[in-house]
C-alpha cells in the first residue's frame, strides 16, 4: 500500500464546494444527444440527401405512370395500385441514408473517441443509448414525414391525370404514409442498435445495409422453402405487409404476413439489436 498524504505545509483540504450548478437528468441527457445530432454537418447532409432522394424517386415513379398506363402489360397493375404507394415509392432509398445516419450516431463516437467523454458524463451509459434512440426517432420521423409531404406535392400533377392522387380522407392512404414513417424510424433504430453492438462504422453500415437491402434481393433467387420463410421475415419484405406490397415489391412470391405481424416484426428489428447493444454496453470497456 503506497499512501500519499499531503505534506505538512500543504493547504488543508477546504472541501472545495463546486459553485457550478450541476444536476444531471434524463431530460438533460436527451437535450445533449439532440444537440449532438444537430451540431454535426454530416447529419444535415444525410437528412438533405434523404429528402431529395425520396422526393426524387417518387417524382420519377410518377413520371413513369403515363408510360405504364399506355403499356397493355402494366396497365392492369396500375389500375389496382394505390396512389399512396406511388407517392411513398422512394422510401427504400431513404432507408439507406437513414440507416447510415443511425449507425454513425454511435459509431462516430467510437471512431473519434467522443464515446469516452460521453460515458464520463453519463457513466451509467444506458440512458445515453435511450436518449440517442429517442432523438434519432424524432428526427427520422420528421424527415420521413417531410419527404412524404413533399413527394405528395410534387407528384400531384402527374398522378391527377390518372386519378391516382391518394385521398387524404382514405384510411388506406394514412396506413401507407404512417407505415412508411414507421418503417424508416425502425430502420434508423436498427442501425443504431447494430452500431452499438459493433462499434465500427464500416461494420455497422455493412451489416445494416446487408440486412435491410441486400438480403431480400439475394434470397429471392433461392427457391428453398425455409429460405423463403426467412426472407419473408426480413425487414423490407415484412414492411410489405402494411405498406401494400404491389407486384414489383420484393415481398411478392410467398404468402404475405398479416399487417399486424409485419408491424411486430419491424418493431423487433428496431428494438432487439438496441436492447442487446445496451446490455453489452454496460459491461464493456469504453
Amino acid at each position: 500500500m503506497s499512501t500519499i498524504t499531503a505534506t505538512a505545509d500543504a493547504v488543508l483540504p477546504t472541501a472545495a464546494r463546486p459553485t457550478v450548478h450541476a444536476r444531471p437528468s434524463f431530460l438533460g441527457i436527451l437535450r445533449g444527444e439532440w444537440r449532438k445530432l444537430l451540431s454535426l454537418r454530416s447529419t444535415w447532409w444525410v437528412l438533405g440527401a434523404t429528402v431529395v432522394l425520396i422526393t426524387g424517386i417518387s417524382l420519377a415513379v410518377a413520371a413513369s405512370v403515363d408510360a405504364m398506363a399506355a403499356d397493355p402489360v402494366t396497365a392492369p397493375t396500375l389500375a389496382t395500385t394505390n396512389g399512396a404507394e406511388l407517392v411513398s415509392g422512394g422510401f427504400q432509398i431513404g432507408m439507406l441514408t437513414i440507416a447510415v445516419l443511425g449507425a454513425l450516431l454511435i459509431t462516430g463516437e467510437y471512431s473519434t473517441g467522443m464515446i469516452r467523454s460521453t460515458f464520463a458524463a453519463v457513466p451509467t451509459r444506458v440512458p445515453v443509448v435511450i436518449a440517442k434512440a429517442i432523438a434519432l426517432s424524432v428526427l427520422t420521423g420528421v424527415v420521413a414525414a417531410v419527404s412524404i409531404a413533399l413527394s405528395y406535392l410534387v407528384t400531384m400533377p402527374q398522378l391527377a391525370a390518372h386519378q391516382l392522387v391518394p385521398a387524404l380522407d382514405d384510411a388506406r392512404t394514412w396506413q401507407v404514409f404512417g407505415g412508411t414513417v414507421y418503417f424508416l424510424v425502425a430502420a434508423a433504430l436498427f442501425s443504431l442498435g447494430v452500431g452499438t453492438l459493433l462499434r465500427s462504422s464500416a461494420g455497422a453500415i455493412t451489416v445494416s445495409l446487408t440486412v435491410l437491402l441486400l438480403l431480400p434481393g439475394v434470397l429471392a433467387f433461392v427457391s428453398l422453402n425455409w429460405v423463403e420463410t426467412i426472407a419473408r421475415y426480413l425487414p423490407l419484405p415484412a414492411s410489405g405487409a402494411f405498406l401494400g406490397g404491389s407486384e414489383d415489391s420484393l415481398s411478392s412470391g410467398g404468402d404475405q404476413l398479416t399487417a399486424a405481424t409485419g408491424l411486430l416484426v419491424i418493431a423487433a428489428y428496431a428494438l432487439v439489436p438496441l436492447f442487446a447493444g445496451a446490455v453489452v454496453l454496460r459491461r464493456r470497456d469504453a
Binding site: R23, R35, S39, S117
Partner: protein, 314 residues
Amino acid sequence: MIEAHQLTKRYGDKTAVDDISFTIAPGSVTGFLGPNGAGKSTTMRMIMGLDRPTSGTVTVNGKPYARHRAPLAEVGALLDAKAVHTGRSARSHLRTMAATHNIPVARVDEVIEMTGLATVAHKRVGGFSLGMGQRLGIASAMLGDPRTLILDEPVNGLDPEGVQWVRRLVRSLADEGRTVFLSSHLMSEMAQTADQLLVIGRGRIIAAGPVQQVIDSVSAAAVRVRSPRATELAALLEADGAAVTSSAPGALELRGIDAERVGELACAHGIALHELSPRSASLEEAYMSLTQGAVEYRSDVTATAPTVPKGENR
C-alpha cells in the same frame, strides 16, 4: 480523494495494471509518472469507470465514479485530447457535455475563456492542433467545477506558455483543496508541477511519496572535487566515511559527504582545491534508475530481443 485497492487490469494474458493500491490526497498535486505503456492511462480510465477492473476497486471521493449523482461535478478528466467528435465545434462539444448535467451555458463560455479558446470556439475540432485539443480537454474537465481532476499527459503538445498555464492552473486548483492527479512520462515536468509522486512501471507501483523524497531515495547527492593532490585527499575523505570514485586524474566524485566537510578537511591538511561543487542527483538519472527494467518499449541496439523478458525486474 482517490483510493485504489488492489487494482488489476488484464487484457487477455497481458497485465496492464498489476495489483496496485494507492491513495491520492486532496490539497496537493500528485504526479503519476511512468514510461509509456506502464499502465497510467489504464489506471485513469478505471478511475473514471470507463474500463472495468479485472479485480480490485477504485473510488473517487468515497464512491465508485459511476455511483456519483453528478459525476462531472465530482471528477473532471482529460483522458485523451482526442475524446471529442472531430466534426463538432469546441463550443458545441462543451454544450453537449454541459447539457447532460444541466450546467448553464454561461459556464461553458466561462471555461472557454479560462482555457483561451474564445477565438476558435466556433471552429470544428478536426482542425485543432494538439495544444488546442489539450485546452479543450481541460475545458471539458473544468466544466462541472469538479473536486477532483484527472489529467492524462496534460502538457503534451502545449507550447511553453501553455505548459506554464497548466502548472499555475493545477497549483491553484490544489491550493483550493481539490485533488489533482496528473500523469506524465517526463520526470522533469513532474518535478516542476507535482508535490507528490506515484511512480509506476509495468503496471506496478515502484515508488511513492513527496517528489524530493522519491528522488533522494534513488540517488544520494554527490560532490565533485578536483585537486592536484587528489590521491592524498581521497584517502582522507575515505577515512571520513565518504564513498570516493574517480572519473579522471585529479578529479573525484564523492557520496555520503557534503561540500562543507570536504572544504574543511582540505583546509585542515593544506590541500589546494581547484573545484568543489555539490551536485544534486539529476532528475532524469533518478527516473532512469527508478524505472530501469520497467520500460515497456526500449531501444537496445545490442540485444536481439526488443523487450526485456518478463520477470527480470520482478
